[in-house]
Each structure stands twice: as structure tokens, then as C-alpha cells.
Symmetry: C2
Subunit: 225 residues, 2 copies
């Protein structure tokens, strides 16, 4: 007996949707860049129909903007937008931290701890700035806490916001010791989760994200982006 079963082929729509998302996250498409339906369709040798559908969805999510002349561009958040996004993230991710503290299993705790161990390793061995793997590990920390909250809707809401602030994630680690500060804040959050103190976990998450946005604002002011 085996578990083989025929899978639904992934539609072009889904593939293009994921692809565009990835391109935006990885910075291949940068904020403000123009996107062409037709060009993407040609690139993958498919018709424009599935591409159009993907574009509409990404626009609804906010990752793409379509102006009154139907010009499609990659979303470029203003500073005010980023502040708005963070205000939402603060309350939603704090909720996630609270729920996760109440529900997390031992195995899951280990998973979270794993990201901290790795982060520390990266930090200590790090000579170069803007280490991608560190950023990824930090993202994973937040992501696991979101997942373990066992609230699908919360997960989607947080993910959407997360996507929208992708552009600023890298900036967040610039400046004196912000990387180590983030690490310490993550450790504190984890500590409270492990101690099953949901109230403190919630507060630590809120504080962490508040620090994030404050730090980000300081950096953005300096380089007047």
C-alpha cells in the first residue's frame, strides 16, 4: 500500500501569482517598477488570461498598484503606509504571540528555539552587513509564532501585512547593533512563550515591533528615501 494519489495540476494562474510575489519579495521587481501583463505572458509562453487574474489578485492584496491609465506598478509604500502597516502588525502579532503561548507544543517550542540558535550563529560569525540568512531566520521566527497560533485568519492577515512591508525588512537591520537588539528581543519573547506567560509574551511582541518601527523611521529620515 502506498499513499500515491493524483494531484490537481497547478494552474498557470497559481504559478504566475506565486512567481510575481516571489519576484517582488526578492527585489527583482522593485517598488515603483512597471509590470507588463503581455511581457510576462510572453516570458512564460502562455496567454494573458492567467497573468491578468494574478495581477488582479495582487492588486487587491496591495502588492501591485493599477493607476487610472491601467498602468501596473509594484507597490511603493510611503512612510505613513509603513506606520499604518506596523500599527496593524503590532496588535495582530501580539495576539499571535498570546495564542501561541497558550497552545504551543514542546516540539513547536523547539522549532522556535532553533531559529534563535541559528540567528545567534549567523550573528557571531557575521562580518558582512545585511546577511540574507539572518533576515530569513528572523522572518521564520515571526512566521512560526504566527502559525502556531492556530488561527488561519490571523495568519492570512499577518501574511498580507508582512508582504507589504517586505521592502523595508532589509533596512531594519541597519544601524548600530540593531541586529543584536532584534535577537535579544526575540529571545525575550521566546522566554515568555516557554514560561507560558501569555500576557508577557504579548507585551514583549508589541514592544519588539514598536522598536522596529521606531528604528525604521529613524533610518528612513536619515536617508530621506
Amino acid at each position: 500500500m502506498n499513499d500515491f494519489s493524483v494531484q490537481k495540476p497547478v494552474t498557470y494562474f497559481e504559478q504566475i501569482y506565486e512567481h510575481l510575489r516571489e519576484m517582488i519579495f526578492q527585489g527583482v521587481y522593485k517598488p515603483g517598477d512597471r509590470i507588463y501583463e503581455a511581457k510576462i505572458a510572453r516570458e512564460f509562453k502562455i496567454s494573458r488570461s492567467p497573468v491578468r487574474e494574478a495581477v488582479r489578485v495582487l492588486q487587491n492584496e496591495g502588492l501591485l498598484a493599477i493607476d487610472d491609465k491601467s498602468k501596473i506598478t509594484v507597490y511603493k509604500p510611503t512612510i505613513k503606509d509603513v506606520e499604518d502597516i506596523y500599527q496593524c502588525r503590532i496588535v495582530l502579532e501580539s495576539l499571535a504571540a498570546k495564542l501561541t503561548t497558550e497552545l504551543v507544543s514542546e516540539d513547536e517550542l523547539q522549532e522556535i528555539e532553533g531559529t534563535l540558535v541559528l540567528s545567534k550563529k549567523f550573528l557571531e560569525s557575521k562580518k558582512n552587513q545585511n546577511d540574507r540568512s539572518l533576515i530569513a531566520e528572523n522572518a521564520r521566527f515571526h512566521d512560526l509564532i504566527t502559525q502556531y497560533s492556530q488561527n488561519n485568519r490571523l495568519q492570512k492577515q499577518i501574511n498580507d501585512l508582512w508582504s507589504l512591508s517586505h521592502y523595508y525588512r532589509v533596512l531594519n537591520f541597519q544601524g548600530e547593533n540593531r541586529d543584536w537588539n532584534v535577537f535579544n528581543e526575540h529571545q525575550e519573547i521566546f522566554h515568555h512563550i516557554k514560561k507560558r506567560d501569555s500576557k508577557k509574551a504579548e507585551q514583549a511582541m508589541a514592544q519588539h515591533l514598536t522598536n522596529d518601527i521606531n528604528h525604521l523611521k529613524k533610518i528612513l529620515q536619515n536617508q530621506s528615501i
Copy 2:
């Protein structure tokens, strides 16, 4: 000189998107109902392309579900889903109440108070159950508070959640005096906003929504929907 300028014609896509949303809200399409792209296209004598795009977007929002056989149905939340949605609404709408308290103008305060005055009128004159205008006025109360928070992202997040729980909104007013209780809770929230006590406004909103979901769960258990 006048301010005339030519407007972009509203695309079929947008019109269909709004239309489907409305149909779902108004209960013309009920949870679980199947939807046919082709049928909608025929109904409005347009092609299926714009309809497809609208359907994709609504699926992404969660209002429509597309199963592994591409069958399109109206989203039917489980009780767990509703609880998840409310957990999110509680933190987001509390944030909205807080922000609005800090930012609201005198005119806007009057707008909010207006919904309370109308609600009261409807309640007192009401002999029949499930008064549509009362429900609409209550929705407007929440909507104004969300708007006046001046956080666009928050507004979109709350609106999406709101859409997803539309189906249960009517149930919320069933049962002994729940309609009056809702009114009193709204009045309390308004009171704190007017007094510019953002902390209390926030708490009152959280309490109100907590009462809502508890009431809803009680009703759902009884009729084992």
C-alpha cells in the same frame, strides 16, 4: 472655470466584483451556494474574462471558495472560522477605537452620535424582529469608527473581516434583548471616545465584540447550524 474632468469608465471587472460582493452580503447568494462564471457572464451579456478576474479576487479575499475541482461556492464559515475572525476583529477594531479617539473631529463625533440616535429610534419603534435598518445603523457605527482612525490599512483589514462574517450579522440580534444590549455597549464606546479616553474606548470596543462572539456562539449552539 469648472471642475469637470473625464472619468475613467468603470471596468466590467470592477462592476462585477462589486456586484458579486453585494449579492453575497445581501444574502442573494448564500453560503455554500454554487456560482457559475458563465452564468454570470450571460446574465450581464459580457464575456467570462472580467467575471473570472472578479472571482479570483473574491476567492483571495475569502468570500468565494474554489475547490480542487474548480467548483466555485460562496464561503461558508465554520464556527471555528467565526471565532478566528472575531479574535482578529477584537484587536483591530479596538485599535481603531483608540486611534479614532485620538484623532476624531467634532463633526465626526456628531456623525457617530447620529447613528446612535437613529438606532434608538429604530429600537423604540420596533415591533418586528430582524430590522434591517437597525442592523445597517449598527454596521455604520463600526464603519465610522474604522474610517476616522485614519489608517487605510487598518480599514482594509477590518473590512475584509467584516465581509467574512456578514452571514452571522443578522443572527447577532436574536435572543432576549441583545439588540438593546448592543445599543448600550455602542453608547458606552461612544461615551469614551467623546471624553477622549482612548484607553477606555479601546477596552469597551474589545468587550463589546467579545460579548458579540459569545452571544453568537450561544445562538449557534442552540440551532446547531
